[in-house]
């Protein structure tokens, strides 16, 4: 085959390059720039090397927030993935129920993050919120403002409510792609409900589950808006996640250097964990 060489073709990708440069590369490099310098104001910057990184990594504040993030993501994944699979398995496969269920499932996904936060913030209030009043009325001593456990439960329930649908929709897409013949063969082979799930449905959902898992991990690990709106990081520091801490540091205290260093560390952690999950999950795929 004859290939035509024409360097003008590079102009075709120029718009994308510019877009990526302005939206990702330049901001990222700015952050890198801050992370290795110190300033005493007046736009005078000094080379600080890896000092900020060392300082962030040595602080308890960072490790505690990281611990909260890991715990939160672990709980979210442990709840949303199985729950999502369970709901998807029980959704109707044909008839009028299909569009109804799909729309119901898609609804929470359409609500903006900060609105979700506000809804639950009001919903859970002990003085005027429906949930808060009801729980209080039936004898629970529920108060997400003062009680650490209640604050966590509120955030988790809110996230499950908001995002399980995503897992459901992805799993459902995997399930409906299974031809009827598989279920027929399973019946002839005398397979139990569990065997059908284990050998037919789970293998078919594997790819979409990987996507669901990564999306939910990254998203829950970067959680910001909901705790910011509902608990503001409290009570105490109990719901101060890395993102909230980062914003406090950068905007509240104007510590640009440490905040920049922390951003980069935060970014690398997400990248690293996602890569590990991806590798582990796809390699088990090859062996199986």
């Amino acid at each position: 085959m004859n290939k035509t060489w024409n360097n003008k073709a590079w102009f075709m990708v120029l718009p994308v390059l510019l877009l990526v440069a302005f939206s990702a590369v330049i901001p990222l490099m700015t952050v890198v720039n801050y992370s290795v310098q110190d300033t005493f104001g007046n736009n005078a910057f000094f080379w600080a090397g890896t000092d900020w990184f060392a300082q962030v990594l040595a602080s308890d504040r960072f490790w505690e927030a990281l611990g909260r993030n890991l715990l939160f993501s672990a709980i979210i994944l442990a709840l949303e993935i199985p729950l999502g699979i369970l709901i998807a398995l029980n959704m109707p496969k044909k008839g009028l129920g299909v569009p109804v269920c799909l729309v119901l499932m898609a609804l929470p996904l359409l609500i903006p993050w900060n609105v979700v936060g506000t809804i639950w913030q009001v919903f859970g209030r002990v003085d005027i919120g429906l949930l808060g009043r009801v729980l209080d009325g039936i004898g629970f001593d529920y108060n997400y403002v003062n009680d650490v456990f209640d604050a966590w439960v509120t955030l988790i329930v809110m996230d499950v409510w908001h995002w399980t649908s995503l897992v459901v929709l992805l799993c459902y897409a995997g399930l409906v792609s299974i031809p009827e013949a598989y279920y027929q063969a399973a019946k002839i082979d005398g397979a139990s409900r569990w065997a059908v799930f284990r050998y037919i449905q789970l293998p078919k959902m594997k790819r979409v589950l990987l996507i669901a898992f990564l999306l939910r991990f990254m998203d829950s690990f970067m959680i910001y808006t909901e705790p910011f709106v509902v608990t503001g990081g409290g009570p105490g520091n109990s719901t101060t996640f890395l993102s909230i801490d980062l914003v406090k540091m950068a905007i509240g205290q104007f510590d640009l250097g440490p905040a920049a260093a922390m951003s980069i560390i935060y970014f690398l952690i997400i990248l690293l964990l996602s890569w590990i999950f991806y590798t582990v999950m796809t390699s088990s795929d090859d062996q199986a």
């Binding site: 013949a181 027929q184 019946k187 002839i188 082979d189 397979a191 050998y199 199986a288």
Partner: protein
């Protein structure tokens, strides 16, 4: 190992069938003998898979009953009917090994592991995949998948019947022949009732004691290969069985005289046709003799197919096929005679007998 009765079975996929055309199965009323080997032959969409699914219990018929050895099983599950079925589109569990795929139906029924191992190894040997036992089923070729699917149907030795839905479509001809003889051997050894769906008439005729021909949601004939050849009970069977198929010519019946175009053929009986029926004469190409005497024809194309020649000719303005032996000559002034014993008369596509 069961006698299967299909008692006035009808099936429609839609909710409320209004006309005859809404039924995928029009009316099937028939008995399959215990231990019989049946081939189910018919064109695409005639309802073969539907019938198998009704027998195995994957589908509930809209009307009618199914009996196994006289016991009504219409509402029993597949599991309770104890039937093996090999599907038209091979299903394999691709996260399992080849071995586990074959062991699956046995393990699900709690068969002891030594027995599982014995059966699976036997089947692996039979389908020629012994070397692949430990491989995962993913990434196998289409014919290997089809063999596994077949193997899973054969691995249980205690079933009432085995239903095969075109099980060998992508297997190469030699292996197909090998597997078919293995099936016959298993059939003799265990005496399962076997139903074998196929499009391919040679496959049907070599596998089965009885061939069941389906057409448009109905069973149009059940018989031995010889019966289907000599006395097709429906013009469709005449076309479908034999190569080339039966010649069917419009005919007017008057007592024992059959008029085709300007020619008249006299039979030794008077077919019982009711007035107003569409009548036709059927004659197989093998029973037409080409010579200098008889009724005139004009020769079109001559196809040489090895031991025979097929002559395409025109008779009373209609195309017909004639089979001529390899050394048979084609006269310059061609005429044909029909073997009177091989003539079948059809009224509204159904064969009418000699009884009058």
């Amino acid at each position: 190992m069961a006698r299967i009765n299909l008692d006035h079975i009808r099936h429609a996929y839609g909710e409320k069938p209004k006309s005859e055309a809404d039924y995928a199965l029009k009316e099937v009323h028939h008995e399959w003998n215990d231990g019989g080997a049946y081939a189910l032959l018919g064109p695409s969409g005639c309802g073969k898979t539907t019938l198998l699914n009704i027998i195995s219990g994957l589908l509930q018929p809209s009307e009618g009953r199914i009996l196994f050895d006289g016991k009504d099983v219409t509402y029993l599950s597949t599991q309770e009917r104890n039937i093996a079925q090999v599907f038209q589109f091979p299903v394999i569990y691709d996260t399992m090994t080849v071995y586990d795929n074959l062991a699956f139906p046995l393990r699900n029924r709690g068969v002891a592991e030594p027995e599982v191992d014995r059966r699976v190894r036997e089947i692996l040997e039979m389908i020629d995949l012994a070397g692949w036992a430990k491989k995962t089923a993913r990434g196998l070729t289409a014919d290997q998948k089809q063999k596994i699917s077949l193997g899973r149907g054969l691995v249980r030795s205690d079933v009432n019947a085995i239903l095969f839905d075109e099980p060998l479509t992508v297997i190469d001809p030699h292996m197909k022949w090998v597997l078919r003889s293995q099936l016959k051997k298993l059939h003799r050894q265990f005496g399962f009732t076997m139903v074998y769906v196929t499009h391919d008439q040679t496959e049907a005729l070599t596998f089965a004691d009885k061939v069941v021909v389906m057409y448009d949601g109905q069973i149009v004939q059940i018989g031995t290969p010889a019966e289907l050849f000599e006395k097709p009970s429906h013009t469709f069977v005449g076309y479908f069985i034999g190569s080339p198929g039966m010649n069917v010519l419009p005919a007017a019946i008057d007592g024992s005289a059959v008029r085709v175009g300007e020619e008249t053929i006299t039979l030794d009986y008077a077919p019982a046709v009711s007035a107003g029926a569409k009548t036709e004469l059927g004659i197989r190409p093998e029973f037409i003799t080409l010579s200098r005497e008889g009724m005139p024809v004009s020769i079109g194309k001559v196809e040489d197919i090895g031991r025979q020649k097929i002559v395409r000719a025109e008779f009373v303005g209609k195309p017909i096929a004639i089979v001529v032996p390899e050394d048979g000559e084609i006269p310059a002034d061609p005429h044909v005679t029909f073997d009177p014993a091989a003539i079948n008369i059809y009224a509204d596509s159904w064969r009418v007998g000699r009884e009058g």
